[in-house]
Each structure stands twice: as C-alpha cells, then as structure tokens.
C-alpha cells in the first residue's frame, strides 16, 4: 500500500529534489502532459471529488467540493496559500523548498480543471528561502513550456505570480489573504460571499493550501479511487504532520492517517525527550484544544479528533512533557493570538489583550484568586458557551483560537493554575 505521496522525491533525492532536471527525471510533468492531451477539465474535477481529499490548511474542507462551488464568471483565479504561520506547523516550508515543481504541476492541473489562467502563490514574508526556490522553479517551468501561453501545445495558458506577505499570521485566513493580495490590510472579510463566488478582485477564486495542491499530480496520475483507498473514511490519503516540542525526534512525517496518537508520539516521534512522562499535547497547531494521555489510543483522523473536542487543524503536533509549566505555555499561545489579532472585532482585539495581561500577572507571581473566573469570563465573551466547535462572535476564528489554551488548562490543570495563584511565586518555565 502507498504510504507516501508528496515526500517521495525529496526522500529519494535529497540533493536536488527541487530542480526541474530531477523532477522530469522522476516522471514529473508526465501527468500534466497526459492530462492536457487526453483529459477534459471536468474529468480532473471528478477525480479530485472521488479522491475525497480534504484541505490540508486547517479547516479540512473537501477540495473537490470547494472547487465545485466556483462560480462561472470570468476571469477566475487560483490562489495558493503558503502563508504557513500556525505555531507548531512547518510542513509547507518543506514542500516549498524541497519539491516546488510538484506544487507547480498540481497548480497547472488544478487551473486547467477550473478554467483559471492566473495563479498567485502567496508565501509568508518570513519564508524568503522557500520563495526563492519556488520562483526559480516557476522560471524553469516557463522556460520548459509548462507555464505561459499555449502550454505543451494544448491551447491552455497559465501565469503564476509568486507573492510575498509582510508578516501577519491572519493572512493565512483565506479572505484576509485575498485582501492582502489586493494590497490591503490583511483583515478577514465577512462570509458569505465566499471566495468561490466573490474572491480576488471580487472574481470567483479558489484558495487552496500548498500541501493540498501538492497531492493533485498523484491523484490525477493514479485516479481519485486510488487515493480514496488510502487511510480511513473521512481522512483519506497521507498527511504531512509536523512534530515539535518535548519530543525525541521532531520533524515532518508523511503518514497514512488512522494510526493511534500513541504510535504517532512514541513510534514515529521516538517518545518524550529524556524518557520523561507525557503531560499533554496539541494535535493540530496552537489553535487546537489540548489532549491528555488518556486518549493516546484514539485514532489520528480528522473526525475522531473532532469528537475528542479538538482538531487536526494544520497538522502541527506539539508535545509537552511533565516538566511543562502549562500556564506559561498557555501564555505563549495567547500572546501569539493577541499579537496577531487584526483588530477588527472587539471581542478578539480586547479579549486576547486581556487574556495575555491576566496570564502574565499569574506567571509573574501576581495572580489574584478571581483570575481563574475572570479568564473564563473573558473567553466566554469571545466564544459564548466555551463549546467545541467554538461559537464565534467575530468575523474569523482567530479569537476563539485564543480560547483553546485557556479552556485546556482550566479543564485539565485547574489545580495547577490555582496553586500558582495561591503561592504567588514566579513560576519556572
């Protein structure tokens, strides 16, 4: 059974997997050549729908269904979301740096399927090295006739522009990304209208994550049914997980979903650093609620993780060992969201700021007994009811994301928080 799709080339040829020469030598662009000659655009859309490929950026929405929403107006755009910024996530960086042609072939196939002639690859500004690799690959693809006018004599034309961000996590949210790409502040838009109807320049636009589109060449080459045969229902295909924190072997691992969290952390990740005990982990980037060791034998799937009250999100698995000061860890995450709040919505702008201040005073030894309830009260104003999936009083989910670490420590470690407040001493990290 296939257990690798998107990291095969970089594993086999670490010295030059990013080059056109290696890409072509390992069968690259053959799928595109065949598809442009023999497949109707609708056929590609059908295969991607049949694959049940769910988006790898965070929300997990089925890519084929998203494509199906694209409104008929022209021009229409495809935008690749390479604004990877979710704490704990570094997988797209590897795909951009190590196999940019795989992404480009996926883009051309997708654009052909959708009737798109202009694509933007939005890469976060702090990723200049990946951006240089992608730009070089784009230049190579133009020179070889895989981009530009009348690609491989098919009559189909496509241009790709590589666009760098300016440093703002929120631009990973697709409507904020579109505003940013239009030369505006990266503030999320109200939905509807969804980008598939009114996106870039108010035209129909599909926004897909780097990893999602990197899967497309394989799906078109092998058929949607072959992809749909990999992994459990609802979590088809492989997934590139980023392991970090107190883990013995951090890194990116492409695996078939459905294994247990125990296998993920102890087999793949090599267990906890220094043979310490696992305290808790975050299964899908800093926005996700934390999981406890009692669910280690639950399967790693999108739906099962949702059932546990969390999410696979961006695939960033952050492990914390028994020595972790969970309040200081929560502060790091809350400070992130406070810094990255775009400021449009009051509950998020004010709420994240207050959460940060309260946690800072607890960590510095100046916590007050009422702070426990105050933290939860502020959270309840950002996301009423503190339920999962979170209710939203804001335009985008950034505010509710800042609630996750608070509800996590209050649910699982409340005595630790209270003790820290009671003792009034600065806590170690």
């Amino acid at each position: 059974m296939t257990d690798r799709i998107i990291t095969t080339r970089m594993e086999a040829h670490p010295e030059d997997s990013n080059t056109m020469q290696r890409y072509e030598a390992t069968g690259g662009y053959e799928t595109l050549r065949t598809a442009l000659a023999e497949m109707a655009p609708e056929k590609i859309l059908e295969e991607v729908k049949a694959a049940n490929l769910r988006g790898r950026g965070g929300a997990g929405f089925p890519a084929g269904v998203k494509w199906g929403f694209l409104a008929p107006a022209a021009p229409r755009y495809l935008v690749i979301n390479g604004d990877e910024s979710e704490p704990g996530t570094f997988k797209d960086r590897q795909l951009l740096e190590r196999d940019p042609h795989q992404l480009i072939e996926g883009i051309v196939l997708t654009a052909y399927a959708l009737g798109v002639n202009q694509t933007f690859i939005y890469i976060r500004g702090e990723y200049p090295r990946p951006a240089r690799r992608v730009q070089r690959a784009v230049d190579e693809a133009y020179a070889a006739g895989y981009l530009g006018d009348d690609i491989l004599g098919s009559g189909f034309s496509l241009d790709i522009t590589v666009h760098l961000g300016g440093g703002a996590y929120i631009c990973g949210e697709e409507t904020a990304l579109l505003n940013s790409l239009e030369g505006r502040r990266g503030e999320p838009r109200l939905k509807p209208p969804f980008p598939a109807v009114e996106g870039l320049y108010a035209k129909p636009t599909i926004v897909n994550n780097v990893e999602t589109i990197s899967n497309i060449p394989w799906i078109v080459a092998n058929g949607g049914a072959a992809f749909d045969a990999i992994g459990p229902e609802g979590s088809r295909g492989t997934r590139l997980f980023s392991l970090s924190g107190h883990i013995e072997r951090p890194g990116n691992y492409e695996v078939v979903m459905g294994m247990s969290w125990r296998d993920m952390i102890y087999d793949i990740g090599g267990g906890i650093r220094g043979d310490r005990e696992l305290k808790c982990w975050i299964p899908g980037g800093a926005s996700a609620p934390w999981l406890m060791p009692d669910v280690l034998d639950e399967p790693v799937t999108l739906d099962d993780t949702g059932r546990l009250g969390s999410m696979l999100g961006s695939g960033g698995v952050i492990v914390m060992d028994e020595t972790t000061n969970v309040v200081a860890a929560a502060l790091s995450i809350v400070r992130f969201f406070s810094h990255e709040s775009c400021g449009q919505c009051t509950p998020c702008r004010e709420g994240t700021t207050w959460l940060q201040r309260i946690l800072e005073r607890i960590v510095s030894g100046n916590g007050r007994p009422a702070d426990v309830d105050l933290l939860l009260d502020v959270c309840d104003n950002i996301s009423p009811g503190l339920r999962w999936p979170p209710a939203q009083t804001t335009i985008c989910p950034l505010g509710p994301s800042a609630v996750s670490p608070i509800t996590s420590i209050m649910t699982h470690f409340r005595p630790e928080v209270e003790a820290m407040i009671r003792q009034g001493v600065p806590a170690g990290v």
Binding site: D16, G125, G167, G183, S242, S244
Partner: protein
C-alpha cells in the same frame, strides 16, 4: 526625490505581474525599503504614485504588517521566536542571551545602528526549535551560547550578505528537516531576500 533607475525598472516589472496595480503595494513597499534603507514617508509617497493610492492608504497597509520597518532598524533584524514550540525548548533564554550580548531590550537597536532585536512570533521552524532569523534568513537549533556568538559575529564582522546555510553551519543545531541543497543567495539587508526585489545576492 525619485527612485533610482534600477528601482523604477523593478517597480515596472512587478506592476506587470498583477492584473490590478494595487496588488503591487506590498512588493513595492519592499523596494521602497531597499531604496531608502528602511521605510520613509518619501518611499510611501512613491508607492502611492505607482499604485494610484494616497500616501495615507499606503501607510495604512504598511503599518498592518510587521516586516515593513523604518530606517531605524539598522543592518540586521534579529528575530527570536518564542512561540509555543520555541518557548518549550528555551526560546526565551535565547532572546535574553541575544539581548544581553547586544546590550538591548527586545524592540531596541544598538547605538551603532547595527543590530535590532525583536521577539518574533512563529517563524515555521518548530522542529528545529529554538530558532532565530537574521534578516529573515533562518538558523535552527540555537542555544543561548551559540546565539551570543551569532550576535557578536554580526556586530563585529558586519557581513554584507547573510545566508541560512552559513549561519546554520556556524551557529545552528537540530533542523526541522533536511534542508537539501545549499542556497547560494542570502539577504543584503532587513528585507526578505527575493530576486524580484533585488535583495538576494551571493553569500560572501
């Protein structure tokens, strides 16, 4: 003051990449920073002229993002990540060590205008935590001691171009993943090193 011929050519080339000129605001802001060694009111006026916006609209965009910095940031922006994975593995200690070595608090620049130290949010190097960037070129797996040496090297040697591979070899440790082939290019200043901006040059 108007831009140099080279910058104007780059601006025209960048404008040609977008269906609507306004989309060029962000790349042109990087050109403006390169032209004036940081973002200035004059630079933003130039961007406004190219994109048909008012200078205030351009400033409104620039102020939203963290990487459009004014001329006060000097030659090297040192961004130290303390987001969760770096926090768990000692990023705060690295920030303290670098700030101490430079004699600065985060957000300050040294009196010679060489090094600016900032606390950064996640830079996508969590598997190689703790990590720092110098002019957005990455170094993974640093420790307080090696980050002090990195800081000292910047202050004493003032390299014309900084690149990830060289810094990683001299000051780095565990990486998030195998980086693959060496990159010949690095950053010439506190602007992402990217060909179309004229900010990427061979590492010295």
């Amino acid at each position: 003051m108007s831009w140099s011929q080279e910058t104007r050519s780059r601006a025209e080339e960048i404008l040609g990449r977008y269906p609507e000129v306004r989309s060029a605001v962000m790349p042109l802001l990087y050109l403006a920073m390169r032209e004036d060694d940081g973002l200035t009111a004059d630079g933003m006026r130039q961007v406004a002229e190219y994109t048909g916006l008012t200078p205030v609209q351009v400033e409104s965009v620039a102020s939203f993002y963290t990487m459009y910095k004014d001329a006060g940031v000097g030659k090297y922006v040192v961004s130290v990540c303390t987001s969760i994975s770096c926090h768990l593995l000692g990023g705060d200690g690295v920030l303290a060590a670098i700030a101490d070595e430079a004699g600065l608090s985060p957000g300050e620049i040294d009196r010679n205008g060489v090094v600016f130290v900032e606390r950064a949010e996640c830079i996508g190097a969590c598997g190689g935590a703790p990590a720092v960037q110098v002019n957005y070129e990455l170094v993974e797996g640093v420790e307080p001691e090696s980050s002090r040496r990195l800081c000292r090297w910047l202050i004493d040697d003032q390299p014309a171009v900084v690149g990830s591979d060289r810094m990683q070899a001299e000051f780095g440790g565990r990486r998030s993943f195998e980086w693959g082939p060496t990159e010949s290019e690095g950053a010439t200043g506190p602007i992402p090193a990217f060909g179309p901006y004229g900010t990427a040059e061979p590492v010295s």
